[in-house]
């Protein structure tokens, strides 16, 4: 049993043993979980995938005379930002689109430029065109503004992502006879492709399946900079089917995250366009997991064969919210390039980048070894297995006869 404070002391004195989740698998195969738990102090993880529930808060500073963008309207590079806040606080979400984008009017839409692209450009240090209109008040008389902002002249700029780093995810197939364009990419008709989206054995929340060390306040790698877990993410659902050892076999926990956008790196935060679906953003995220005891050595050393996901039909079942799983497959099968779905061999394709996930885990490991990144004790736990949480669906009521 080690405490996080003890591990931090070892990091400070340069004696901590820090390994990536891939290395941990090999170490534990050789030493067993007991010895591995004594030898290894920290296991680093990583993931790099499209995460729609991401965005950035900005305080753009006050113009002369002042303008109250709050309650008005504003765009960044023609992409609408939310301004129902104080005078010059705005929020740009990853999936926001310019008003004149044709979207899916010409199907499948290209969604070439959206909020995620604005955030990537901002982080790269480029000028972003801010246009805002306001109603004007005695204290904020200006009614229109057109100018450029960038990361050097705004006040705060921080990512606040309501849902990142899904603990496991569906595998998408298509049982209809037409091609479908989804957030899981293009899924070919008649079960001709299966798309998956998880780093599997490198994925942060899969390595701490019971949220024993990851909690509110945990310091993380976010978009190439340092961030924190602020809350459980939206749709956080610890109560999904789990393996006997506690590893979730479907999309379960999620994280809400925060971090200073000005110190982030565009190679770990990239605007993305999903044909026929929309604009979004690739987010790179990594979490160090302290190996406080043998159980954490066990969890951090599970490999792709131990992580199972549900195969779901995105042609009919998913859009109609039918909770049907066609079968279960593990990430070793998914990464091999083909899976077997009830007797049919189906080629598999990833949506998230495993090589980037690996890069993040390596980078985080270097940060910790060099002493520039210390571990944190969570200030409060995430809702765990057996908590009251259940997923609510939206039951649509008749407006006339509620």
């Amino acid at each position: 049993m080690k405490t996080i404070d003890e591990i931090n002391e070892k990091i400070r004195s340069g004696k901590a043993v820090v390994v990536t989740a891939e290395e941990m698998i090999e170490i534990t195969k050789e030493k067993g979980t007991k010895k591995a738990s004594e030898y290894v102090d920290v296991v680093t993880t990583g993931t790099f995938g499209p995460m729609c529930s991401s965005g950035m808060f900005l305080n753009v500073g006050h113009s002369k005379p002042r303008i109250k963008i709050g309650g008005g309207r504003c765009t960044l590079n023609d992409v609408p930002a939310y301004c129902g806040l104080a005078a010059v606080d705005i929020y740009i979400g990853a999936t926001a689109m310019p008003d004149d984008d044709p979207r899916n009017m010409v199907y499948p839409g290209a969604f070439k430029y959206g909020g995620g692209h604005v955030i990537e450009e901002f982080i790269s240090g480029r000028d972003i065109k801010l246009v805002a209109t306001a109603y004007g008040t005695d204290c904020y008389p200006k009614k229109k503004i057109e100018t450029y902002i960038n990361k050097y002249n705004v006040n705060e700029a921080y990512l606040f992502n309501p849902r990142n780093s899904y603990q496991n995810y569906n595998v998408a197939v298509n049982l209809t006879n037409r091609i479908i364009y989804t957030y899981m990419g293009i899924v070919k008709p008649n079960l001709h492709s299966a798309n998956y989206c998880s780093a599997g054995q490198l994925s942060p929340l899969l390595k701490d399946p019971k949220y024993r060390t990851i909690g509110i306040g945990t310091k993380i790698f976010l978009g190439g900079g340092v961030g924190f877990v602020t809350w459980n993410g939206t749709q956080h659902n610890p109560n999904v089917p789990r393996s006997p050892d506690g590893i979730p076999r479907a999309g379960a926990g999620t994280l809400a995250t925060i971090g200073d956008a000005k110190q982030m790196d565009p190679s770990f935060l990239k605007g993305a366009s999903f044909i026929g679906y929309g604009a979004t953003m690739f987010v790179g995220l990594g979490i160090p997991i302290p190996v406080i005891d043998e159980e954490m050595a066990y969890f951090t050393s599970r490999s792709d064969e131990d992580y199972w996901a549900q195969v779901v039909d995105y042609g009919n079942d998913y859009p109609n919210r039918n909770p049907v799983s066609l079968c279960e497959v593990n990430y070793a099968q998914l990464k091999s390039g083909k899976i077997n779905v009830n007797g049919t061999e189906v080629p598999t394709f990833p949506i998230s980048s495993y090589s980037k996930a690996r890069e993040i885990a390596e980078l985080l490991k270097d940060w910790i070894i060099s002493g520039r990144f210390l571990l944190t004790n969570p200030v409060a736990p995430l809702p765990g297995v057996g908590s009251e949480i259940k997923m609510n669906a939206l039951e649509v009521r008749d407006i006339e006869n509620p």
Partner: protein
């Protein structure tokens, strides 16, 4: 040998049956993968040519003498290595598997020899790392 090339030719050449000549005079097996032939603008054709080394060389010489520009296919389909995040989305639409995942590095590799210039990857790449420079 078997090779995929891009043939560009001027608008004043569309009355010349160059593909017929390649087959008849130089014994080359041709497979037109893509063509955009316009009467009032420059034209382009993506062709796979197969034959003996000698026939292939003579065929190419003929094309050049006739006034065609010959380019290797990789000159016109490019991946921006700085932009690519190796997510793998392109591999799902690439029928000839020119774009494929290296299972060791889990990076997307691009085998230009197998590319048929269908451009599907260009449309689906989420970060627009794949580009085609055919100017029609």
């Amino acid at each position: 040998m078997k090779k995929r090339i891009i043939i560009r030719f001027k608008k004043n050449m569309i009355d010349k049956p160059i593909v017929y000549r390649l087959a008849k005079d130089f014994n080359l097996i041709f497979n037109i993968l893509r063509a955009n032939v316009l009467p009032k603008a420059d034209s382009i054709m993506v062709v796979e040519l197969e034959g003996s080394d000698e026939d292939y060389q003579r065929g190419i010489e003929y094309l050049v003498q006739t006034g065609c520009d010959i380019e290797p296919i990789e000159q016109d389909i490019k991946r921006d290595e700085a932009k690519c995040v190796h997510c793998g989305v392109c591999t799902s639409v690439c029928a000839p598997s020119a774009l494929y995942l290296n299972r060791d590095t889990m990076k997307v590799e691009f085998d230009y020899e197998r590319c048929v210039a269908c451009e599907l990857c260009v449309r689906v790449c989420p970060v627009k790392a794949l580009n085609v420079y055919f100017d029609y």
